[in-house]
């Protein structure tokens, strides 16, 4: 029976207090005080939907053989590229086989659940054994908008298969409704939204019960069967109203994580699902509902295998890894909302050479180096001539992945002069267990976190953004960890 085999999650480390946003922008929209509770997760200046989806996927695939993955679906309404398959970038970063199918799902906030349904149906139809579904959003609200208060950044990933599932897929029900509660045209950066009251009364109030009842009828289930009902709705009062209307026990309504993460768009119902799975027991039935251009409702039943899920950060683990974003200005600069001076030297024009990026795709996106078959020395970047002075073998190399290796800091520095969005720029040498070393930037840390010998893990990040040509360039950075994973 098809279902979820594994899950992963990611919440960016930076958190911005909503009061800080209000203090900066409340003068123009005092009504936002109603939304100024808690904090929201915000991506670092080197993160975007593709990178955080990759992080969630790596979390999900821990302990699994990546060569067994037959497909990758990526859902987001904030895809870095309109054309250059984003799922393809992630698939290369994950070092999946070349003969996998892949797709970007976009256009609505239900795209995440739609991708998940497609994957489940594909596996159930036996046209694939395992499909990875990842979803992420880094949505932008205009400065001073309620959206800015509400939106948060986050990602979730699921490995869908039919063996040793942790949550069996029991069925789904969907509604497709061209209900334009908000929209974004192909040339726009920001959503535009219609009246809140209309959205609640004709949107949520109509569609959510309809899709839930549709699912219950289709699957011969009762609402009371479900240990957790997961639905995204950033209107707090509406959520309560829906719960009452559906006769839900409030304890069974999954926490929307509004005050700790924010509304993560396409990813949100699935971020909540990951959290629910982290808390679930065998036998629990879970109902997941998404909303956006209609609804999807999915029914899962948790199996005994849930107890075998270990070593995942998921949403829980990432929530605990937090750092305060100390100013609203930093947030808007990181999100590219305001023009900022990074110095003439920072304006250097860098041409991305696609023939080179293709030829070196495994090394750049996948962090695949080479290991000499003769002397066993791993090397990054991959070499044809072995760097071991005692060996020197030519063309006796095999692919060797560095992204999953344990590393530690060999040397580091905090540089006050390098053009940076968050000085001092931190970088240094990382040496890997088993051999090999390379120079890289450190991220998601302060200078105090860097110590020679500290263990690090590697993270897929946006290395540069070419504003002139609208190119997002990716590579890996190192994050110091407090203790070895």
């Amino acid at each position: 029976m098809a279902g979820i085999v594994s899950y992963g999650g990611y919440v960016p480390r930076y958190r911005l207090k909503r009061m800080a946003i209000f203090q900066a922008m409340g003068w123009i929209n005092p009504a936002n005080i109603m939304l100024a509770q808690g904090e929201k997760a915000v991506a670092n200046s080197d993160e975007d939907s593709a990178t955080i989806a990759t992080a969630a996927s790596i979390d999900c695939l821990r302990g699994f053989d990546r060569s067994a993955v037959d497909g990758l679906f990526f859902a987001s309404t904030t895809l870095p590229y309109l054309e250059r398959q984003n799922a393809g970038i992630i698939a290369t970063a994950l070092n999946l086989r070349e003969d996998v199918r892949s797709a970007d799902f976009s256009g609505a906030l239900k795209a995440g659940t739609s991708a998940l349904i497609s994957a489940l149906e594909g596996v159930a139809a036996k046209s694939a054994k395992q499909i990875l579904v990842c979803t992420a959003d880094c949505r932008l609200g205009k400065m001073g908008s309620p959206q800015e208060m509400i939106f948060g950044d986050g990602a979730a990933a699921f490995l869908v298969g039919d063996e040793e599932v942790i949550a069996e897929f029991k069925g789904s029900y969907s509604l497709t409704c061209d209900f334009v509660d908000h929209y974004r045209g192909s040339k726009s950066t920001f959503d535009r939204q219609w009246e809140d009251r209309w959205i609640r009364d004709l949107g949520f109030e109509e569609f959510v019960p309809k899709v839930v009842n549709g699912l219950l009828k289709k699957c011969h289930a009762k609402i009371a069967d479900f240990a957790k009902v997961i639905f995204q709705c950033s209107y707090d009062a509406e959520r309560k109203s829906l719960s009452r209307g559906l006769k839900l026990d409030p304890a069974r309504v999954q926490d929307p994580l509004q005050t700790s993460i924010g509304e993560t768009g396409t990813a949100h119902s699935l971020v909540m699902l990951v959290k629910a799975l982290e808390e679930a027991k065998p036998g629990d039935k879970l109902l997941v509902v998404s909303f956006g251009s209609g609804c999807d409702a999915l029914y899962f039943e948790v199996t005994e295998n849930i107890n075998k899920m270990k070593g995942r950060m998921g949403i829980q683990g990432h929530l605990a890894n937090r750092a305060e974003m100390t100013s609203y200005q930093k947030y808007i600069v990181f999100r590219g909302m305001v023009p900022v001076d990074i110095g003439l030297r920072g304006e250097v024009d860098f041409l991305t050479r696609w023939s080179l990026v293709w030829r070196k795709r495994k090394a750049i996106l996948g962090l695949i180096g080479s290991r000499c078959k003769r002397c066993g020395s791993p090397q990054y970047p991959p070499q044809r001539v072995c760097a071991n002075p005692a060996c020197g073998a030519v063309d006796e190399m095999e692919d060797y992945s560095f992204a999953d290796k344990k590393g530690h800091i060999l040397s580091y520095t905090g540089d006050m002069l390098a053009a940076s969005y968050d000085p001092p720029e931190m970088y240094g040498f990382v040496e890997f267990e088993g051999g090999g070393r390379f120079q890289c930037n450190f991220t998601d840390c302060t200078l105090d976190d860097l110590k020679v010998g500290a263990p690090v893990s590697l993270t897929f990040r946006r290395k540069y953004y070419d504003e002139k040509r609208d190119i997002h360039g990716y590579f890996w950075k190192a994050v110091p960890r407090k203790e070895a994973a």
Binding site: G343, L344, R345, V348, F350, R353, L356, V357, K360, A363, I364, S377, Q379, Y380, P381, Q383, V385, A387, N388, P389, L410, S411, Y412, T413, G414, D415, M416, L417, A418, A419, S420, P424, E425, Y427, G428, F429, E431, G435, G436, R437, F438, Q439, C440, N441, V452, K463, G473, F475
Partner: protein
């Protein structure tokens, strides 16, 4: 059986411009300035020069490519002009080319000239080019030279258990010594002595390198005219300065790709030093080298080089530094002209500027206050690139 360069080439004349922010001069002006001084010093006519080697590193912002800029600026009469570029060893490479041509007996009189005009970039820094290639531009960290060399310092301090305060004091002494020397030199850009405390109190750029531990960007040119020892002796009354060794060592890839490099020394410097000492017949560098000009782009570079060149024992450079061993009045004065600290680093010119200083010292041309006592062997050292991947040149001249 090859016998090296020792005593096969003599320096006939040298020239060096004032280094600094030469707003009023372009590369062509600097070329003429350095060349004219060298020509007058050599006592020959331009038409007697049979071949030239021309060194510049970042041609995109100044002269352009090939040997053309040198030839058309100086109106060289259709002679061979070879362009050299090897990072900070560029100037020494130009010198090397000229020397090998003379030693091979192919030409009698050759010119080596290095120039770099860096102050037209508009932002007071080196142009940020993909200097390590396109792949490295996609995967290398967003780094600067101070940050990369700062790691040399932290690794060195960690390896030898150097207390941070002691280390900083030693680095400060290195810089203070150079600034004191530069204050006496009319061709230097920065001519102001600085106290060690002022250096230690200065803010950090990339720990533990502070402001005074880093060199700056400037314009300059230097030139050398070389010939055989026989021709030199026939033209001049005094015993000429002879070339004793010319060594280059380039990183093998080991330091950055393999696991043995300790991050606390410069392997290329060690190897180039070994090759040079062997070529020059020097068995005890600490005793036989009279003076040095080394690549003090950062004071930590100078510190590790003292050991890599086998002047100080491994891990013990700080003792020598604090003893004044490398001060102008010390046993092996280092940077008697003020070094990169006071001249800045016009990349293509620096190697030749160093040779110029050693040459003038050997001929005892400077006023008393700037002179090294009993100079016999002068060593120059350049290091281009970054600690994990670099090019080192070591040249030794003597009299």
């Amino acid at each position: 059986m090859a016998t090296g360069i020792r005593d096969k080439v003599a320096i006939l004349g040298m020239g060096c411009t004032r280094f600094g922010e030469r707003w009023e001069s372009g590369a062509e002006d600097l070329i003429v300035e350095a060349f004219q001084e060298a020509l007058v010093d050599a006592g020959v006519e331009k038409k007697e020069i049979q071949a030239a080697w021309f060194g510049t590193h970042i041609d995109e912002v100044n002269v352009g490519k090939g040997g053309i800029p040198l030839s058309t600026t100086l109106k060289l009469p259709f002679i061979p002009v070879t362009r050299t570029e090897n990072y900070c060893a560029t100037g020494t490479e130009a010198f090397r080319g000229a020397c090998y041509a003379v030693a091979a007996g192919v030409y009698d009189i050759c010119l080596a000239l290095g120039v770099e005009k860096l102050k037209d970039t508009g932002y007071g820094g080196l142009p940020a080019t993909a200097a390590f290639g396109q792949m490295q531009a996609l995967i290398g960290p967003n780094a600067t030279a101070p940050g990369l060399f700062a790691q040399l310092a932290t690794s060195y301090f960690a390896k030898y258990g150097v207390d941070a305060k002691v280390g900083k004091r030693a680095l400060a002494h290195i810089s203070a010594k150079s600034h004191a020397n530069g204050a006496l030199n009319p061709k230097a850009h920065l001519r102001r002595a600085v106290a060690e405390d002022q250096i230690i109190n200065a803010p950090m750029i990339a720990y533990p390198l502070g402001l005074f531990d880093c060199c700056g960007v400037s314009d300059g040119a230097a030139a050398a005219i070389v010939t055989t020892p026989e021709i030199a002796r026939s033209l001049k009354k005094e015993e000429p300065v002879l070339v004793k060794a010319l060594a280059i060592s380039v990183s093998s890839g080991e330091e950055s790709l393999f696991n043995t490099w300790d991050g606390a020394h410069l392997e290329t410097t060690y190897r180039a030093g070994q090759m040079a000492f062997k070529e020059a017949g020097i068995k005890k560098p600490r005793e036989e080298v009279s003076m040095m000009e080394v690549h003090d782009c950062f004071s930590i570079t100078e510190l590790t080089v003292y050991e890599d060149l086998q002047i100080s024992p491994r891990g013990r450079a700080i003792d020598d530094i604090m003893d004044g061993f490398f001060d102008l009045q010390g046993k092996v004065p280092c940077q008697p002209d003020g070094g990169l600290k006071c001249f800045g680093h016009p990349i293509g010119a620096s190697g030749l500027r160093m040779l110029y200083e050693m040459y003038k010292q050997l001929l005892e041309r400077w006023p008393e206050e700037r002179r090294v006592k009993n100079p016999r062997i002068g060593l120059t050292h350049n290091l281009g690139g970054i600690p994990s991947t670099n090019i080192c040149s070591v040249a030794i001249i003597g009299r």
